[in-house]
């Protein structure tokens, strides 16, 4: 790593580097199997966001923003919502009813399979994208905000400067 000074200690960084893929995979699992087991779009999206929040905590904000930019996160956020809306609106196109489940729900090898519930997994995926991007954005924005004090001479200083004094 180039930015040794930023972020937390070497141990945390190493563990994060190993774990981030697995956490992301776990999020994907929760999203995709949301209609069969406990979970769904929202919890899965939270786990997606947790991956990036962990990277932000361990390596610092700049490193995380290099991986996924603010504009990209904002666009993913809109994309998730739009996808959900498109899936719901396609119901009008196919069956004439908003939000109707227009994909075949029957599966040859029986119920409770991955592709046995029509549009629900697609909805879950779009919610996962939306929630993950939104929560990551909220965390980044909270980390940008600084509490400002007046130092008694009419100047404004941040918390870190105050602590140094």
């Amino acid at each position: 790593m180039n930015n040794e000074e930023k972020g937390m200690s070497l141990i945390v960084k190493t563990v994060t580097r190993w774990l981030k893929g697995f956490i992301f995979l776990f999020g994907a699992y929760i999203v995709v199997f949301g209609h069969l087991s406990p979970g769904g779009g929202f919890p899965g999206g939270v786990v997606f966001a947790a991956t990036f929040i962990l990277i932000t905590l361990a390596f610092g904000r700049e490193y995380a923003l290099k991986k996924i930019g603010k504009i990209l996160a904002s666009e993913l956020d809109s994309l998730g919502a739009l996808l959900f809306l498109i899936i719901a609106t396609l119901g009008i196109y196919f069956t004439g009813i908003f939000f109707s489940n227009f994909i075949e729900k029957f599966h040859p090898t029986g119920n409770f399979k991955l592709f046995s519930s029509g549009t629900i997994p697609l909805c879950n995926i779009s919610i996962g994208i939306k929630v993950g991007a939104s929560l990551f954005m909220i965390f980044i924005i909270l980390s940008i905000v600084r509490v400002v004090f007046e130092d008694g001479k009419g100047k404004l200083i941040t918390t870190e400067k105050k602590r140094e004094k």
Binding site: S78, L79, L82, L85, T89, I97
Partner: protein, 495 residues
């Protein structure tokens, strides 16, 4: 038959589409925003005199979510989409000069419009709460859109008050769900009719009505409004005052009282007394203000008092007066806020003392301010006169002459307050008026003038809608509120 989910799909879709395309292309937010609100206005006009229950996903109530269109929803849909079209038209130049991020502005604006459309269409308590939260959260962000210290403070105050109200509502919905096991308004009403009334239901009722009264800014709950409305950009003030407090406050209270819990003498008394207190306190506080937008915000509290008095009287004539005043108030109050916006756009101040002789430099703005002032003070032949007249007549007919007297006093105080506005800003001079600044003033750009003219003409002519009285154009709306709980249950559940 119109597809009811379109009222929610179109604004939400465009709201999320705008941020994806308009970072590169600058003209997209303006065009898309105005086009969307215009289409929504046309769609809402098409719902006139229609009744429809839409089952989302094909699931029958009480298991599925329903959207219900009836006379009351139709009235609110037209108000919401008419005022939002006027506001977006006004925003093109206004936001360009005074604020930066148009794509965020239009995105939040359309989320607010979609949330309100959903609120007035929803036939399901929890969906109503969710749509209300969407509209509220978008409006918290829009109030603080300028990011000045005072705007952020107002936005935070509004956020805290609004969230407390939302929690009340959520708790009320949860208690009702626990008691009845259903969230569909008609189904809850059906079950509540069958089981004996107990204190839990009464408590849920108080929580729900209390929460929505904060949103509609009646007097004991009004503290957020005089800060939030002046701080917002002018088109947003027009939306907040003209539409949001009605769609999220008055509409839901009407729906819950008349179609869910049932109307009785105690509720009638409560609404009338709170209405009278708002009416008088709001206008008395407005008399003291010298900030133009703050003055208008206090008048909103006062005029909402009139609406509640009309609805609280509960006779068909009273309900007609209340709803007609709700319609008229949305027209003239949004016109007044847009006027204050164009005055602020040119003079750079909201302080009445620093304005003066605007009629020579800004004739159209001055005329529309005059029209709206006469309308809000209840001078014939403007629309405000007719609705106030009906409220007063209804009060006298139902033997409440004292209430009628208070309504007249409130109207006189309103007139005196607006005489002050006209005297300081338009036809006379304030104390700190500066000649050099005044000479440089000119009329606002064309796209800002158009909504002012349209709304002024509407103020002048919508008085005609009253022809026919309770049998006229408002008949289907009054029918919803007058027709008792049973009728609503039958319509939604289709038994």
């Amino acid at each position: 038959m119109i597809n009811l989910p379109l009222f929610v799909i179109i604004p939400f879709g465009v709201a999320f589409f705008i941020p994806m395309v308009s970072r590169k292309i600058k003209w997209v937010p303006d065009v898309l925003g105005n086009l969307t609100t215009f289409i929504l206005l046309l769609l809402s006009l098409m719902t006139l005199n229609q009744e429809h229950v839409y089952h989302i996903g094909g699931w029958k109530p009480p298991f599925g979510i329903v959207l219900v269109l009836d006379g009351l929803s139709c009235l609110l849909l037209i108000i919401i989409n008419l005022i939002s079209f006027m506001a977006t038209l006004f925003s093109i130049e206004y936001i360009e000069k005074r604020f930066t991020s148009k794509l965020r502005y239009y995105s939040l604006f359309l989320l607010m419009v979609g949330g309100m459309n959903g609120t007035v269409l929803s036939g399901d308590l929890f969906n109503l709460f969710v749509f209300m939260e969407i509209a509220s959260i978008a409006s918290y962000a829009l109030v603080g859109f300028g990011c000045e210290a005072s705007e952020l403070e107002a936005s935070f105050k509004y956020l805290v008050m609004g969230n407390v109200a939302s929690l009340f509502v959520l708790y009320g919905v949860a208690l009702l769900y626990g008691k009845t096991g259903s969230l569909n308004i008609a189904d809850v009403a059906r079950i509540l009719k069958e089981i004996p009334s107990d204190n839990l239901v009464n408590f849920a009722f108080v929580l729900l009505i209390g929460g929505f009264m904060v949103k509609s800014a009646l007097v004991p709950f009004h503290a957020w409004l005089p800060d939030a409305h002046p701080s917002a950009p002018a088109p947003i003030s027009a939306m907040l005052s003209g539409v949001v407090i009605k769609a999220l406050g008055v509409y839901v209270i009407c729906r819950l009282i008349f179609n869910l819990f049932g109307f009785n003498h105690l509720i009638s008394q409560t609404l009338i007394y709170l209405g009278v207190i708002s009416m008088i306190v709001g206008v008395c506080l407005a008399l003291l203000q010298s900030d133009l937008k703050r003055l208008l915000a206090y008048h909103s509290i006062s005029q909402i008092g009139y609406v509640f008095v009309g609805i609280g009287i509960g006779t068909p004539l009273g309900i007609l007066g209340g709803l007609f005043h709700l319609f008229n108030h949305s027209l003239f109050k949004s016109l007044l806020f847009l006027d204050s916006g164009s005055i602020e756009y040119q003079t750079g101040t909201r302080d009445l003392n620093k304005m003066g002789l605007l009629y020579k430099k800004m004739p159209i703005t001055s005329f529309s301010t005059l029209f709206a002032s006469l309308s809000i003070s209840g001078i014939p032949p403007f629309n405000g006169f007719w609705s106030k007249l009906i409220i007063i007549l209804a009060a006298i007919k139902s033997g409440k002459s004292i209430i009628a007297l208070w309504a007249v006093i409130g109207s006189i105080l309103t007139l005196s307050s607006f005489t002050k506005v006209l005297r300081y800003s338009i036809y006379g001079k304030g104390e700190k008026w500066e000649k050099e600044k005044w000479e440089k003033l000119k009329e606002v750009p064309d796209t800002m003038v158009v909504p002012l003219i349209i709304l002024s003409l509407l103020c002048l002519f919508t008085g005609l809608l009253i022809i026919g009285g309770t049998e006229g154009i408002f008949a289907s709306t009054i029918d919803v509120l007058e027709g008792s709980v049973l009728k609503y249950i039958n319509k939604v559940l289709g038994s």
